[in-house]
């Protein structure tokens, strides 16, 4: 993973968050992970000048208060935020969600597997993508 860049995890399920963090640790990703629980908190976090802008956002779709799609709709219009790559991490297999999120310019769409080992494989793919893809800094 790109050095020192933080990862912003937008996830309301504590165990899912734990799963992501555990998988990252297992894959030896040392970048710090900031966790917020919904779209509103994510925007608050990103707009707080004290916080460093993350290198990547892992975004759940089903969340209370402001869901992933709503968050994307706002973030992708924000000049400061729209370049940050967003990868969707969701349980939804719905075609419509895939279409909507890609229309809003997401970098990837991953479905959370039930099996933890498969989950680790997904995170590995994200790590690989982030490592190989050239990103705007």
């Amino acid at each position: 993973m790109i050095k020192n860049k933080t990862i912003l995890l937008v996830e309301d399920d504590m165990i899912d968050a734990m799963t992501v963090k555990r998988a990252l640790k297992e894959l030896n990703v040392i970048n710090p992970v900031d966790t917020v629980e919904n779209g509103e908190e994510a925007l608050e976090f990103l707009r707080d000048s004290k916080n460093e802008l993350p290198g990547i956002i892992l975004l759940d779709l089903n969340m209370p208060r402001m869901n992933g799609i709503e968050f994307l709709g706002i973030a992708k219009k924000d000049e400061k935020l729209k370049h940050i790559p967003v990868i969707i991490l969701t349980t939804s297999l719905e075609e419509i969600d895939r279409i909507d999120t890609f229309s809003l310019g997401v970098a990837g769409y991953m479905v959370k597997p039930v099996d933890y080992k498969q989950f680790v494989e997904v995170i590995k793919a994200i790590k690989l993508y982030w490592s190989l893809s050239e990103l705007p800094c």
């Binding site: 899912d16 597997p113 039930v114």
Partner: protein
């Protein structure tokens, strides 16, 4: 203008024509009447004339006989009273004359006597102007007025006995007069058989009131003045009859016209007007009372009435039907709306529930794996096996949830239809199933193009092929995909040489979460065929299975050619 009025007017015109025809007949009658009267008048005129002449004749002949007589000439010279008594005074009694005059040529009166009813009245002279005319004409006849009345006078010149032709110059003048008194008129009445009157003024020839004809004869003086008229009045039965007849015919003709008119009006009103009124009334009000009256109509109107009644009945039936249909429609719409919202709720419910079930399931799965890893030194084999069992049930539940989600997706998510090349799509489906090498798959060449949602159709073939592969128990699996043209639809079959299915399970295999084998023995969600059936049926097709244990299975489904 209403038809009724038109008919009445034409009726009036007919009546007028009838009336003018009647007037024409009357006129002809009148002409006939006039002809009859005129001939009657002529006849009566000649009767009167003849009667008057007959009365005059005797006097005239006496005057003629006396005036070629020598004794009379002698008497003018002698004035012998005795002779006059014997020969002249007797004239009054024997000939019923009323006056005798004898003048000499020098106009000296020799004998002058006037009597009425045998009484001597004051005699009057013959006017002097008459004598020159008499001298010239030898005879004269005229009427003269006197205080007693009108006299008819005959005069002649006196000649000798041997000069009957009166060629010698006259020797004197002789006159005889007859007073037109009541006895004269009475005699005239006897002769004519009518009523004789003497009037100074002439009356009309025909008296309309008395059915009589009156003719008159003028009484002319010597100088051609009319002194009065003798009138003859006679009643004629033929006139009475004729008048009566024409009166009767007039009345009967008018009566006939009236009867025809009234009859026509009544018939028109009864036969046409009343039925028409009833019909229009019934059509206007549509009330049952008026409609009942239609049934009393007769002849052509009966048919019309029946037609109207059947029309009403049809209309009523139609109205009832429309009412029922409206109600049914409203009920249907309500039901559809209810069903729609229930369906939508159910879909959302299935989606949300399934979705939300996944998160905790994943957590259980993850944590059981972490325990397995983190505490492997503290767990014995039993504990590890139990954790593995826990994980396998998590997987099963995961599959069930995915099944529910994909089942609900069939109706929840719409897919646009497009033209699909089945040769390509069936190939893709087989590729996705990736059957092992011991499988032989036969696909018909030249599969048709169909209009369908591509993902859905792929799902159908993938599921059917996948089932055929999954349950196959032969060393060499055989799968055949075949297509038949059924006119307005295509029939596709997927056959295998697998174990086959008993007929009693044919329905069950299409029900959700129904599997024919125990879960632990064979991992299956039992959702595949349910989804296939739903996709096919949602697109207007059907699916059925043909199978017997040990004989393999054939699934046949249809797709409409034009959607």
């Amino acid at each position: 203008m209403r038809t009724q009025h038109k008919l009445l007017i034409s009726l009036l015109i007919t009546a007028l024509m009838l009336f003018s025809g009647f007037l024409f007949i009357l006129k002809i009658q009148k002409q006939q009447n006039d002809i009859l009267l005129n001939s009657g008048i002529e006849q009566q005129n000649s009767i009167l004339k003849t009667a008057i002449d007959a009365k005059s004749d005797l006097v005239y002949r006496t005057v003629y006989d006396y005036t070629y007589w020598d004794a009379l000439i002698e008497y003018m010279k002698t004035s012998d009273k005795l002779w006059a008594n014997d020969n002249l005074s007797t004239l009054f009694t024997s000939f019923h004359v009323n006056g005798v005059w004898l003048y000499t040529l020098e106009l000296k009166p020799v004998f002058l006597e006037v009597r009425e009813d045998s009484l001597n009245t004051k005699p009057f002279d013959i006017p002097k102007n008459i004598f020159p005319i008499l001298y010239k004409n030898k005879y004269i006849r005229f009427y003269i007025s006197s205080p007693e009345g009108i006299y008819e006078i005959f005069g002649a010149t006196v000649h000798p006995s041997d000069d009957e032709a009166r060629n010698t110059p006259p020797r004197g003048y002789f006159f005889m007069g007859k007073l037109l008194n009541n006895s004269y008129l009475g005699e005239m009445e006897k002769l004519t058989g009518g009523t004789i009157t003497l009037t100074p003024k002439r009356t009309t020839a025909v008296n309309d009131d008395s059915n009589s004809i009156t003719t008159s004869y003028p009484l002319k003086s010597w100088d051609n003045n009319t002194l009065g008229w003798i009138e003859l009045s006679r009643e004629y039965d033929s006139i009475t009859v004729f008048k009566k007849l024409s009166g009767i015919s007039t009345i009967s003709l008018i009566g006939l016209a009236l009867v025809i008119l009234i009859n026509f009006v009544i018939a028109f009103s009864l036969l046409v007007n009343i039925p028409l009124k009833r019909i229009s009334q019934a059509l206007l009000t549509k009330s049952s009372e008026d409609r009942l009256r239609l049934k009393t109509l007769k002849s052509e109107f009966k048919k019309i009435g029946l037609l109207i009644e059947s029309y009403f009945e049809q209309q009523e039936a139609l109205e009832i039907e429309i009412d029922v249909r409206k109600k049914t429609e409203a009920q249907k719409e309500k039901l559809i709306a209810e069903l729609d919202s229930a369906n939508r709720e159910l879909k959302d419910f299935a989606y949300i529930v399934s979705h939300d079930l996944k998160a905790p399931l994943r957590a259980i799965g993850s944590i059981s794996q972490w325990i397995h890893t983190d505490y492997s030194d503290k767990l014995d084999e039993d504990g590890k096996m139990q954790l593995d069992l826990l994980l396998s049930r998590v997987h099963r539940m995961q599959n069930l949830i995915e099944g529910v989600l994909s089942y609900s997706r069939v109706t929840r998510v719409k897919e646009e239809n497009e033209e699909i090349d089945l040769n390509k799509l069936v190939g893709e489906a087989i590729e996705m199933v990736a059957p092992p090498d011991n499988f032989v798959i036969n696909v018909d060449r030249d599969l048709p193009n169909v209009t369908f949602g591509p993902t859905r159709l792929l799902q159908v073939f993938e599921n059917l092929v996948s089932n055929a592969v999954k349950y196959n128990d032969k060393e060499t699996g055989e799968i055949t995909i075949h297509c038949t043209d059924r006119g307005n639809e295509w029939a596709f079959s997927v056959s295998d040489n697998g174990p086959g299915i008993e007929e009693k399970y044919f329905e069950k295999i299409f029900q959700i979460f129904q599997t024919l084998r125990a879960r632990d023995e064979f991992e299956s969600t039992g959702i595949g065929l349910t989804i296939v059936k739903k996709i096919i049926e949602n697109n207007g097709g059907t699916i059925h299975v043909d199978s017997a244990p040990g004989k393999g299975t054939t699934f046949t489904f249809t797709i409409l050619k034009l959607i």
